[in-house]
Amino acid sequence: MNRHTVSVALLWLALTALGELLVLRVGLFPVAAADEAVMVDRAFRVLMVLGVPVFAFVVATLGYSVLRFRSRGQPTEDGPPVHIHRPWVVFWFAWTTALTLVVIIHPGFTGLREIRSHAARPVDLTVQVQGGRWFWMVTYPEQRVTTVKELVLPVGRHVRFDVTATDVLHSFWIPAFRMKIDAVPGMVTTVSATPTQTGSFAEDAQFRLQCAELCGLNHADMTVPVRVVTESEFQAWVAAQARQTRTVGAR
């Protein structure tokens, strides 16, 4: 170990410590209002924790080399003619491969399985969602309610969304739940979420159903407010909607 290697190692350790501290201390995520959101954020944080040492290693080596090995003006001599250094190559290859495998297994494989098995639980409520230019039509088939104004969900219930589109591609996305699935004409795609806290678009813009696939002119405005309410409030809302539908129907 020569002094250059030791210096870089120390620099790397310092940068890593600083980076991990930032990752663990700084709140990066907006409100996580569903079980699924917690899973996604956890996967994100694991990747950050794993990424920091890699970032720190390259930055430390790069920064140290630039400061320490630069020559003033055009160099008059060549550097050492090192073509390859086997121990380093083996070390590097082993570590990058190991890290890649770790990332594939966790959070890759485990995160995917967690979300899948969560989605496979019994469904408490089914909501049909239809995207069209430029609106979202939300239907609660069991409650016989259809609306284009808002998406109201009961807290703590496992909701499955059956998503489709009438004209072009759209994408169903609720940032507070971290869940997204494209709405494809001629196909029904599904995604599910279990809201864990009440909230509404009026309080936090993360509670919105947003189109996330470019769909033309008013794509940016293709949003519907989301409101997560208690079970009793949900039932009251359903009743009110059903009444309204009947009134409109009678007219």
């Binding site: 250059h4 990066l28 907006p30 996604v40 996967a43 994100f44 970032f55 080596t61 790069l62 080399s65 630039v66 090995f69 630069r70 020559s71 055009q74 160099p75 060549d78 550097g79 050492p80 003619p81 090192v82 073509h83 390859i84 380093w88 190559v89 590097w92 290859f93 990058t96 491969t97 890290l99 890649t100 990332v103 594939i104 959070p107 890759g108 494989f109 995160g111 995917l112 979300i115 004209d167 591609l169 994408s171 971290r178 997204k180 699935i181 494209d182 494809v184 004409p185 001629g186 196909m187 813009a205 189109c211 996330a212 696939e213 470019l214 033309g216 002119l217 794509h219 940016a220 405005d221």
Partner: protein, 618 residues
């Protein structure tokens, strides 16, 4: 008048294009009658364009230089000296390289300006400057023009200029195909610039149907432009593969091939084989629009999801058409300016080739939220993340090369070093998008925007600038102003970070991409990004001033101002038409810096140092 006369080929091209359009459009009336569709305009535009494209190519010189031979007439050469050579169907690879470079740097600046316009709109929530339609068109044009810049600037520009020099060849294998692939580009640019006058186009560069089937006629112009551009890429790929395989100088074995040439070979393989898929995809969309085939229309038995697979089957490998040559320039510059051999050369070659293979097997990671079959998620996640391993080798080579070197921090070297940092961020954030769990949230947000700007702009555009400054003395014979070069670098590097780092954050905060408007709570961050973008844009003015001034008035550079060892620097600046007065003979490895008595090549002067042994080898 004399100057105008020199432009007569362009004039003839335009005239023939107009005639071609009329012929095509007239034919279209007949076709329209057969299909029985009331919408004639789409057919007229399509066939009119095909006629105009052929007319333009024949008029600008294809007829004289090439097609005359097919009807038994002798071909003519349009080679000249002086500035007019750049405005002709010239077959000299160095002229074509400069044509590509100047054209695409101009397009880069134009698309950069579009980004600035977009950021004016996005500076505050709500609608300010642009209508929804104009925003979508601006955003889509920015995207496709930058994609074209990223695909063609290095392969079309630097590879054309430098590969024949680096391998000691006189020209590329197919000089006329080479000229053709450049002269296909102006119609592409014209079509794209015309789109706003035909209702714009609002699909982004991805052109997903059904939207791309039903949008305004501007969308059709864009599809035709993209398809034409693909043709140019395919021809370019074919040409470089053949050139590198067949035209290497005697002694230029595969293990002596400069790393930039390897990177071009790898990219050319993708360019030749993958581009055809997007061409078919686009052709099917055009047929859906023009004759109503319904390939992607669910109501008529089609499938919209199918296009996404076909599109990304090209477009993911395409990012390696962009980044592999960037790796090539990167390592080339790091080696010469560290005065050390390239670290782990053979492993890097292996890494390039494995990236080529893996690049074909990852496309569906763009489709994790598309509604495709669930069982596809895991394999595509695994294969995508495997790409970290060969990419890691490239980083190893970069760090191993500069380690204990004699770093000469010239402008090209600064850009190459910055690329290590930028691509590191681009690569690491890519893992978040390869991971299905995090991608479900991040897909189609600004996180993706920040990620691909870190890989493509921070990686490739920085490599383009490294390449421009590196080869500027060779191309022009003059030296650029080093002080302005450094000013450009630091200005661009710092403002680049300030612009794009916050985009990761707004993406995590739930701002989706390709929108003209966003939630009001992100107003502050977006205003910050917009101001940073304007300042970043201003850095390019320094670049333009430096280039124009130095090309006209810069000090004479000499043959080898960097004292680099590769063959491109062993001939005069700019090189003569035949590149080397006597064909060079390669006798050693190109990067043996610090190895006593090592020689890469013997470049004889006419009638001079050519040994018998060398003559026999030829």
């Amino acid at each position: 008048m004399g100057a105008l006369r020199e432009l007569r080929w362009i004039g003839r091209g335009l005239l023939f294009a107009a005639l071609g359009f009329l012929l095509g459009a007239a034919g279209a009336r007949g076709v329209a009658g057969l299909t029985g569709r009331s919408e004639v305009a789409q057919i007229v535009v399509t066939l009119g364009y095909v006629g105009a494209l052929l007319g333009w190519l024949l008029g600008v010189g294809l007829w004289d230089v090439w097609v005359r031979e097919w009807v038994g007439l002798p071909a003519r050469s349009l080679q000249t000296q002086g500035w007019s050579r750049f405005f002709r169907f010239n077959t000299d690879h160095k002229v074509i390289g400069v044509q590509y470079l100047v054209t695409f740097v101009a397009l880069l600046l134009l698309a950069g300006l579009l980004a600035v316009i977009m950021r004016v709109e996005l500076a505050t929530p709500g609608r300010d400057l642009l209508s929804a339609r104009d925003f979508n068109t601006t955003m889509s044009l920015h995207g496709i023009i930058m994609i074209a810049v990223a695909v063609a600037t290095i392969i079309g520009g630097f590879a054309n200029f430098a590969v024949p020099l680096l391998i000691g060849a006189e020209d590329v294998a197919f000089p006329r195909v080479n000229a053709l692939s450049y002269w296909i580009i102006p119609p592409v640019a014209v079509l794209l610039i015309l789109t706003p006058f035909f209702g714009g186009f609002d699909t982004g560069w991805t052109a997903y149907p059904p939207l791309s089937v039903v949008n305004a006629t501007g969308g059709l112009l864009f599809l035709l432009a993209f398809l034409t551009f693909g043709l140019s890429s395919i021809l370019g790929g074919l040409n470089f593969i053949t050139t590198i395989v067949k035209l290497r100088a005697p002694g230029m074995t595969w293990s002596r091939l400069p790393i930039f040439v390897w990177s071009i070979l790898a990219a050319a393989i993708i360019s030749l084989t993958a581009t055809q898929f997007v061409a078919y995809g686009l052709l099917m969309v055009i047929l859906d629009r023009v004759v109503g085939t319904g390939f992607f229309d669910a109501a008529r038995g089609g499938n919209a999801l199918l296009y996404e697979h076909v599109f990304w089957f090209y477009s993911h490998p395409a990012v390696y058409i962009m980044i592999l040559p960037a790796f090539g320039i990167w390592l080339e510059v790091l080696t010469h300016f560290s005065r050390k051999p390239l670290f782990a050369y053979k492993l890097v070659v292996g890494a390039f080739l494995s990236i080529v293979v893996i690049s074909y097997l990852v496309w569906a990671h763009h489709l994790f939220t598309s509604g495709m079959q669930n069982f596809l998620h895991l394999p595509f996640m695994v294969v995508t993340e495997l790409i970290s391993i060969p990419t890691g080798i490239v980083f190893l080579a970069a760090l191993g090369t500069i380690w204990r070197g004699r770093l000469w921090l010239t402008t090209p070297m600064l850009f190459a070093l910055a690329l290590v940092f930028n691509f590191l961020i681009g690569g690491l954030t890519g893992i978040f998008l390869a991971d299905v769990a995090t991608d479900i949230q991040l897909q189609d947000t600004y996180f993706v925007v920040a990620h691909f700007h870190y890989t493509i702009m921070g990686g490739e555009i920085f490599a383009i600038f490294a390449g421009i400054y590196y080869w500027f003395p060779k191309i022009t014979g003059r030296m650029f102003n080093e002080r302005l070069g450094r000013l450009h670098f630091w200005w661009m590097f710092i403002l680049y970070q300030i612009t794009f780092i916050p985009m990761f954050w707004v993406g995590i905060q739930g701002m989706n991409r390709r929108v003209a408007d966003y939630a009001p709570n992100l107003g502050g961050a977006n205003q910050f990004i917009s101001i940073a973008t304007f300042l970043l844009g201003a850095s390019f003015l320094v670049f333009v001033v430096n280039m124009v001034y130095s090309w006209l008035r810069g000090p004479v550079a000499g043959a080898n101002p960097w004292r680099a060892r590769t063959l491109d620097w062993q001939t005069s600046s700019p090189p003569p038409v035949e590149n080397f007065q006597v064909p060079p003979h390669v006798v050693g490895y190109p990067y043996d810096y610090g190895v006593p008595g090592s020689v890469h090549a013997v470049v004889g002067v006419a009638g001079g140092a050519v040994t018998q042994e060398e003559a026999a080898g030829r």
